[in-house]
């Protein structure tokens, strides 16, 4: 038992609507406050555009739209989480960045079969901590290019 509890996963917890999501800290470069976004035409809906991240032009996607939630106006608590996946550097717009916590590996369960209407292959698992339910994201899947191309072709 003791060994198992030692296996922790450090995650960044953020909020979208009333759900809490988590991504591994290893994949997160930084968390930024909202900065002006330049729209990039002819891209998928959830691609908000690009930002100037200390001299690097970085694409930004709105996770709400990516997950099929309703778009809302940005507020003071809105954050851009810069993540690194493979060779991509992408900013994720979230409602708020809440926490950095350790999740014991044995608390992580596979995603429930019925999660709703959203095609949920980007959910790696769920973790229940006290009264919180965290949804662990598979960022590779969130940013899969196939998905984007698909969306592009639908639009085009």
């Amino acid at each position: 038992m003791e060994n198992e509890t030692l296996m922790n996963r450090k995650v960044i917890v953020f909020q979208l609507e009333d759900e809490e999501f988590a991504v591994s800290v290893q994949q997160v470069g930084s968390i930024e406050k909202m900065i002006p976004i330049t729209r990039v035409p002819q891209t998928a809906d959830f691609v908000k555009g690009v930002i100037n991240l200390r001299g690097v032009v970085t694409p930004v996607i709105d996770l709400r739209l990516r997950f099929g939630m309703k778009e809302t106006a940005f507020s003071d608590s809105t954050r851009i989480i810069i993540v690194f996946v493979d060779d991509m550097e992408v900013g994720l717009v979230v409602d708020a960045a809440n926490d950095v916590i350790d999740i014991p590996e044995n608390e992580i369960e596979p995603a429930p079969e019925v999660i709703g209407t959203v095609d949920a292959d980007y959910i790696e698992g769920v973790a229940k901590l006290d009264d919180r339910l965290l949804i662990l994201l598979n960022l590779q899947k969130v940013l899969t290019e196939d998905e984007i191309h698909e969306l592009k072709s639908v639009e085009g």
Partner: protein, 677 residues
């Protein structure tokens, strides 16, 4: 211990030596009796041999060894340099080059070199080359496999010669067996330390397992090296024992001649090789001392320079803000400091930009060999003259410009330079000359390729252009000479009567033109009948900074590269005409289709903007085609730093990148090529 780093050094150095080999071989062809050149080649080959043998690339070592032998024979005038021989030598170096390339792309550098080895051996023993060429067909890959097996099982021929020759010179050969302790954690590191000790004392000829395997720790606890040294057995073992975590060191003297006696000998030229080796080792000493002073540069990953550039741009943005603040505050000291900072940072900017510059030599260097080969294939006499090889260009431009230049030079040799007979008939010298010149002018670099060949046949070009529908009859009468010459770069054009291997493969000069234009450059042609032609390429100094026209669509800012803009115009709405559902305008007598950027980029409509009576149009071109991009407003011309959108958005339609404006905001750069219909 990082194997890749070790390998990286090997590859870099091998490439340097190969370059030397190529260059010196070319020089040798011109001055076959120049001792200095021969010695230079000899040294390069010898070092390459030593390095590849230590790294365990036996084919590479084998071939270089043969090459070395040939040059030894030349040096002692046993063999004289002739043309056939040069071809074989070049072919051998080509083999070496490909092996090194294979290694650098992750291969093991094995290659069927038996043919080349045989030919080299024939030269060395003074046989005529043609006799060996008869045998070429017989040599098969099986032979190659046989030689490989030998290496694995024991010492190969060339290692043996090194050994026996060193004992002739009073050095001792040792077989050293080193056993590491069972509990040794970093075996690779220990091996490295042992090797370091040994290299100070003498020369490692071979190791079992190979150096690569040792580095990857693919061995139990012990390994064996064959070692040449002038030091005593005791000294070597005590020195090795100074490395910690070593269980045992066994040093045996080792006689190459006894070993050799056991092996069946089938090489007649062995005695000859032995004497050559003696010479080569002497040379090596001199060369080692010369080498240390040559390198005063460091290699820096270009990505790091990009990061530096990014950070610097941030600084520039902040500088702009500071300047504004100090102006508002009107504080003397602050203003002075800010002014000073501005000057320092502009110096910094120019230094950062020049760090990315590379001499064009890198590209030019491969041409002499290529021209030589082509000229021989086509039975022409061509000489090359290179001027301004030290001219510097941005690294990214250098990487791109190679292929277009190759194409142009091939063209010049194939179509430009006439055959020797023809040249004599025209009263020109038998030798054709291709002049390659590079120079700076303003913010641009010019590269000119000049040949003294037949020039361009205007009538033929026109006839062909009309036949292929590139221009029509009435247009053709208005064209200037220069415009006619430039027709050969239009797509769907190739004047060669017969399709040869060298040019006329379907991809023509239009590809060259497109590549150069995509780099933000221009190409122009001038020619005089029977006197030759000049292709002149104008390139921007750097790709990372381009001139753009900033435009506005509603509240969004976009940048259009100046290189693709012909001009801007303001046109009355009534002047828009309709043709086939497309809106077009009459622009200086030409019908130009319009592209409404607001629609293409789906810019959110702003109700406050009233439809204007006049529209602003940017006329852009792609090749001969033009399109008018309709925008809301022109902002102005600006120099900007080109940045990519990141790999996530790499395939965005009609956007080639982005830039950061003075106020820190991102503006997208329009890829007008995608918009020209």
């Amino acid at each position: 211990m990082d194997t890749t780093e070790y390998l990286g050094v090997f590859i870099d150095e091998s490439n340097e030596h190969l370059e030397v080999l190529y260059n010196q071989l070319l020089a040798l062809e011109k001055n076959p009796n120049e001792k200095k050149i021969i010695e230079e080649i000899f040294r390069a080959a010898h070092t390459l041999k030593g390095m590849s043998a230590t790294m365990g690339f036996s084919d590479l070592a084998n071939l270089t060894h043969k090459l070395e032998n040939v040059f030894d024979a030349i040096k002692y005038e046993k063999v004289t340099v002739n043309v056939e021989m040069m071809d074989i030598l070049f072919a051998a170096v080509d083999h070496l080059n490909e092996m090194v390339e294979d290694i650098s792309s992750g291969g093991d550098g094995t290659r069927d070199v038996s043919q080349a080895v045989e030919q080299l051996q024939a030269i060395e023993s003074g046989n005529s080359v043609s006799a060996v060429q008869m045998k070429e067909a017989d040599s098969t890959t099986q032979q190659q496999e046989a030689t490989q097996l030998q290496h694995v099982q024991g010492l190969d021929e060339f290692e043996l010669t090194i050994l026996s020759e060193s004992s002739d010179r009073g050095y001792s050969n040792y077989e050293i067996n080193v056993t590491l302790r069972e509990d040794c954690l970093l075996k690779g590191a220990r091996v490295f330390m042992v090797f370091e000790v040994l290299e100070k004392l003498g020369e490692i000829v071979k190791s079992e397992p190979s150096v690569n395997e040792l580095e990857e720790e693919q061995f139990d606890t012990s390994f064996t090296v064959i070692f040449i040294s002038e030091h005593s057995k005791e000294k070597i073992s005590t020195n090795i024992e100074k490395v910690s975590e070593i269980e045992q060191v066994e040093v045996h003297t080792f006689s190459a001649s006894t070993y050799k006696a056991d092996q069946q000998s089938n090489d007649k030229a062995r005695d000859e090789q032995q004497t050559q080796e003696t010479k080569s080792n002497k040379d090596k000493k001199q060369q080692n001392s010369a080498k240390t002073s040559a390198n005063k540069t460091i290699r820096v990953n270009i990505d790091r320079l990009d990061v530096l550039m990014n950070l610097f741009e941030e600084l520039v943005v902040d500088r702009g803000r500071l300047e504004q603040i100090s102006l508002d505050l009107n504080h003397g000291d602050l203003q002075e400091t800010v002014e000073h900072m501005s000057r320092v940072s502009s110096d910094l900017q120019s230094i950062i930009l020049t760090m990315r510059m590379v001499p064009i030599e890198q590209v030019f260097n491969r041409f002499p060999r290529m021209i030589r080969q082509l000229a021989r294939d086509l039975n022409k006499n061509v000489e090359i003259e290179i001027i301004g090889a030290e001219t510097e260009l941005d690294r990214t431009v250098i990487d791109e410009i190679g292929d277009p230049l190759v194409h142009l030079i091939r063209n010049a040799i194939d179509h430009g330079i006439e055959s020797p007979d023809e040249r004599l008939k025209k009263g020109k010298s038998e030798h054709g000359t291709i002049k390659l010149e590079a120079y700076h002018s303003g913010n641009h670099v010019f590269i000119e390729i000049e040949d003294d060949g037949a020039g361009i046949n205007k009538e033929k070009v026109l006839k062909k252009a009309i036949a292929n529908g590139v221009v029509n009859d009435s247009q053709s009468e208005l064209l200037s000479d220069q415009q006619i010459f430039e027709l050969i770069m239009a797509s769907g054009f190739s004047t060669a009567d017969t399709v040869s291997d060298i040019s006329g493969r379907g991809v023509g000069l239009d590809v060259v033109k497109n590549t150069i234009e995509s780099l933000g450059g221009r190409i122009s042609i001038d020619a005089k009948k029977d006197q030759g032609s000049i292709f002149s390429i104008q390139l921007p100094l750097t790709l990372s900074i381009i001139s753009v026209l900033l435009i506005e669509l509603q509240n969004e800012k976009y940048a259009i590269p100046l290189s693709s803009i012909i001009e801007t115009a303001i046109i009355h709405r009534d002047d828009i005409m309709h043709a086939h559902n497309t809106k077009v305008i009459d622009f200086r007598g030409k019908v130009v289709p319009l592209a409404f950027l607001n629609d293409i980029f789906t810019v959110p409509a702003d109700d406050n903007v009233i439809d204007n009576e006049y529209i602003s149009v940017v006329i852009v071109k792609k090749g001969n085609k033009m399109t008018g991009l309709v925008v809301d407003a022109f902002i102005g011309q600006q120099e900007v730093v080109l940045k990519s959108l990141g790999s996530y958005l790499s395939n965005t339609f009609a956007i080639s990148g982005a830039t950061i404006l003075g106020d820190g905001e991102v503006a997208l750069i329009v890829d007008s090529n995608a918009l020209v219909i």
